[in-house]
């Protein structure tokens, strides 16, 4: 028996196989078949859009530090903003809070730009940045008001977090922090207990479906220690007792441009596109100790789904669920004509009332006395 491997009719090679070679060939064919089959299943998986249970995405991105030497915190926040916008979340669903304006700072040698890489390769400021809370508006009180929804009635729509029970929210905080607190504007702090309580109030009012919390500060893992509401996943750039370090300074601008964790996070997110299927387990591996010097941590015990099945685009992007509209309403049929006999039915009712013992049900529908048509429609 001769076994030939062909490619479109051209024999590549023909062998006279022994029994073990037959087994090898069968194995190879089975393997190829399974590979193609799994490829089909994989493309079907992208169509199983009701896996995640969310219909819209929101992002709350906060930079809490001011002053020129904290340039890197603004660059951190803007680079996450850029990725989130690129992957599809519109400005109307992003609440961006920047405590200071670096792009138009007097000390910026390149005005209207904020760079993330030392050779000025990537301008994360762009030309359509929409900052919702700026400068001194970024306070602990405003941040908690945005999260819990307790804003005064005059607040415009762009400054509100109008999420519902099917929203996945991404919350990103960066700045200077310590064990159990995060510093806002160099004058006040938010503690991890307050943050956990705010998330619990969000859960009570079902203001989120799932929430991803990322924090890039020193001792960032202390901020998610106290969470107790369900469906929360948290990532931090450093453990308690460690400092998060900045990445590299730019000698022309004169400050450190980004923090290490967010730099590698940005690099990771640049490879993601709206239809990619990368899951959260790969996000947990971003910036290992060799690159970050600090040890990034994460917390998934409050999250109901398995992180391996959660797509990055479930939080960073905005992949819509879509259904085909199968039915339409036929509006061209004429309005139903009322039957002509409407007067007669009224008479009959009256006739029947006259002739029989009246049950209560019919008394309710008594109509005024009309012309009798006894001869035409007699009652039995």
């Amino acid at each position: 028996m001769l076994l030939c491997l062909t490619d479109g009719g051209i024999a590549l090679f023909c062998v006279n196989p022994t029994s073990w070679q037959i087994i090898v060939f069968i194995y190879i064919y089975i393997y190829i078949y399974i590979y193609i089959y799994m490829g089909n299943v994989h493309s079907d998986k992208a169509g199983q859009f009701f896996n995640s249970g969310h219909t819209n995405n929101w992002a709350v991105l906060v930079c809490t530090s001011r002053f020129w030497f904290n340039y890197r915190h603004v660059a951190n926040t803007l680079s996450v903003y850029r990725s989130v916008k690129r992957l599809g979340i519109p400005d109307s669903r992003i609440v961006l809070m920047l405590a200071d304006d670096m792009a138009c700072n007097h000390r910026n040698p390149k005005p209207a730009t904020v760079f993330s890489h030392k050779n000025m390769e990537l301008n994360v400021y762009g030309d359509d940045v929409e900052v919702d809370y700026r400068g001194y508006e970024v306070t602990v009180e405003n941040f908690l008001r945005v999260l819990t929804g307790r804003l005064p009635a005059s607040t415009p729509r762009s400054k509100r977090l109008l999420s519902d029970d099917r929203s996945n929210i991404l919350i990103y905080l960066t700045g200077h922090g310590g064990n159990g607190f995060l510093k806002f504007q160099d004058s006040e702090e938010i503690s991890n207990v307050e943050l956990a309580d705010a998330f619990e109030q969000m859960w009570q009012k079902r203001r989120y479906n799932e929430l991803l919390f990322i924090i890039d500060t020193c001792q960032g893992a202390s901020m998610y220690e106290r969470f107790y509401s369900p469906n929360l996943m948290a990532l931090a750039s450093s453990q308690v007792g460690e400092d998060s370090l900045s990445h590299q300074p730019d000698l022309a601008i004169g400050v450190h441009l980004m923090d290490r964790y967010t730099f590698y996070l940005l690099e990771f997110l640049e490879d993601i596109h709206p239809s990619s299927t990368t899951n959260m387990n790969q996000l947990f591996k971003v910036c290992p100790k060799s690159q970050c010097v600090s040890t990034p941590g994460h917390r998934t015990d409050l999250f109901l789904r398995d992180p391996g099945r959660v797509l990055i685009t479930d939080f960073f992007g905005s992949v819509r669920k879509v259904e085909i509209t199968m039915e339409t309403i036929n509006l061209s049929s004429p309005m139903e004509p009322l039957p002509e006999r409407i007067n007669c039915t009224v008479h009959i009712l009256y006739m029947c009332i006259n002739k029989h013992i009246i049950p209560t049900a019919i008394i309710m529908y008594y109509v005024p006395r009309q012309k009798l048509l006894r001869d035409v429609f007699p009652c039995t």
């Binding site: 599809g88 729509r157 099917r166 992949v319 039915e327 039995t380």
Partner: protein, 522 residues
């Protein structure tokens, strides 16, 4: 002595009284939903009972006695009967009237056991023929399961109520359809905003003209007027030029047309949404309906479903967002002959038919497939049958009651746990009014008055949301215990030392005096 109470009084926070007991009672609320249904018998079902409803029979006899030469007229007998019967009895909101007709009647077509019309009436065909000896009770017992099934389709069933409570009670989804239904429709809200947008990517070739005001007035407004007890609606419209879809359609040479397949539809919405305007004043949920006219180079454009078949409506929708319809105009003008731009009048009837269907889905009017043997009249120009409105009102009322209850109980719990929050009088009054409205709504639901129940539940929800989201309830007064000690110890410790010393001195003097007295006595 004087200082301690003074200090206590000046550092306490003002907390108005809240009806905590009643709120705790609400936490264990059990709501009874009662509907009214009336069954009318026709004569041949039972000779004695038939006299009571002889009038109804009269109408049915009339309709049957007319000259029906052609078979096609038989098919609309039930429609006419439904209309005539409706004029007899205008049933109140939330009730169902069932007319029972004999097995052999030709009023319903062959194979159809139940007919449900536009109003709140249904015509039920009797099952096995009944003998004369049976009385009222046995008749009812025989028919009860079938009437219950009809009422479940027209009012509410267990699954509907569970779906209405799906965000409170997150059950594992029984089926993908039930999960999809609960995700698709908007949650109950006091108002909605509807925006109609016309997207014209190629103004050089097409000059589009759409009579949106007239179309909204004739087709959409009747539906919204009917839905007025549920929520307020505000409508606006806009036209966007040079707005492209985010996806490149593929050219299909077999159809000689461009196609968008179902997998790429998910990426169409995002680039367009960034450019849509919206009403910045209110925080109500927004429903967007987009009409896209493809540019001349990509015409005609068809949407294909997962089986690569063209979709009849050429439209798709996204849960809790809205819908997009593609309207092809290439057949309205020949290529290369007419001068560009071509004036095109859009057929609003066809467009509104699709948008109305999508609007019904977004608002939660579920058109789940009817059980076998049921014939349901498709809703016509009104957009909504009365019994569909009732269904919506039932589920919204239950949802409102559940949401308001959960809000108020969690608010009470929060205020209880955190002793430092100030509770103003207006919050207390909102909470009391919520509790009152909830109790009234539950009472009305038990009595079966759906209209009043919905109204009270809406009041309850408005008051509870106002109380929960009041800006003054922000908890910023978290003091860790060690910080409290750190504040008070430097103040009080130096004060306490001389006080303690003098107390010890007083106690030792008193002891000395007692010793002296005893020694004096001795």
């Amino acid at each position: 002595m004087v200082g301690v109470p003074l200090w206590w009084r000046t550092t306490e926070t003002y907390r108005a009284w809240l009806p905590v007991n009643q709120i705790n009672e609400l936490a264990e609320l059990q709501v009874c939903l009662c509907y009214r249904s009336m069954a009318h018998w026709t004569r041949y079902v039972h000779p004695v009972l038939g006299y009571q409803a002889g009038c109804h029979l009269r109408i049915l006899n009339e309709i049957l006695a007319r000259d029906h030469s052609g078979d096609d007229t038989l098919s609309v007998l039930h429609v006419e009967a439904d209309l005539s019967l409706h004029t007899l009895s205008a049933s109140p909101c939330g009730s169902v009237v069932v007319y029972v007709i004999p097995e052999t009647s030709v009023l319903l077509p062959q194979g159809v056991d139940v007919y449900i019309g536009h109003r709140r009436t249904a015509v039920l065909r009797m099952g096995a023929p009944m003998s004369v000896g049976k009385n009222h009770k046995q008749l009812l017992a025989h028919l009860e399961p079938r009437i219950t099934q009809v009422v479940q389709v027209m009012s509410f069933s267990h699954t509907d109520i569970t779906a209405a409570l799906s965000d409170r009670v997150r059950l594992s989804p029984g089926s993908k359809e039930s999960l999809a239904d609960s995700m698709r429709s908007f949650k109950s809200s006091p108002g909605y905003e509807i925006t109609f947008s016309l997207l014209n990517p190629d103004p050089k070739s097409h000059r589009l003209d759409w009579d949106i005001e007239g179309a909204v007035h004739s087709y959409i407004q009747p539906l919204l007027t009917k839905l007025a007890p549920l929520a307020n609606f505000s409508i606006d419209s806009q036209i966007l030029y040079y707005a492209m879809l985010g996806v490149n359609p593929r050219f299909d040479s077999s159809l000689e047309a461009y196609t968008l397949n179902a997998d790429s539809l998910a990426h169409v919405i995002n680039p367009v949404e960034a450019r849509l305007g919206s009403n910045a004043a209110s925080s109500n949920p927004v429903l967007n309906f987009l009409l896209y006219v493809p540019d001349a180079h990509h015409s005609p454009l068809y949407i294909h479903d997962h089986q690569k078949q063209p979709v009849a409506s050429n439209a798709f929708h996204s849960p809790r967002w809205g819908g997009i319809m593609v309207y092809n105009v290439n057949d309205l003008y020949g290529r290369g002959e007419t001068p560009l731009p071509v004036n095109i009048n859009i057929n609003m009837e066809k467009v509104m038919g699709v948008f109305l269907a999508q609007l019904r889905l977004m608002l939660g009017v579920q058109s789940s497939p009817a059980p076998p043997g049921f014939l349901v009249e498709p809703c016509g120009g009104a957009g909504l049958a009365d019994w569909e409105l009732d269904r919506l009102m039932w589920s919204r009322t239950v949802e409102n009651v559940a949401t308001a209850t959960t809000t108020i109980t969690s608010l009470a719990q929060l205020l209880d746990q955190i002793g430092n929050i100030v509770i103003n009088d207006n919050i207390a009054s909102q909470v009391s009014s919520t509790v009152t409205s909830l109790q009234l709504a539950v009472a009305e639901l038990e009595a079966g008055n759906l209209g009043f129940a919905l109204q009270y539940s809406k009041e309850a929800i408005l008051a509870s949301e106002r109380a929960f989201f009041d800006p003054s309830l922000l908890h910023l007064l978290y003091f860790p215990d060690d910080q409290k000690f750190a504040i008070y110890i430097p103040l009080f410790l130096p004060m306490c030392v001389p006080i303690l010393l003098s107390l010890i001195k007083i106690a030792s003097e008193a002891r000395q005096r007692r010793k002296l007295k005893q020694s004096k006595k001795d």
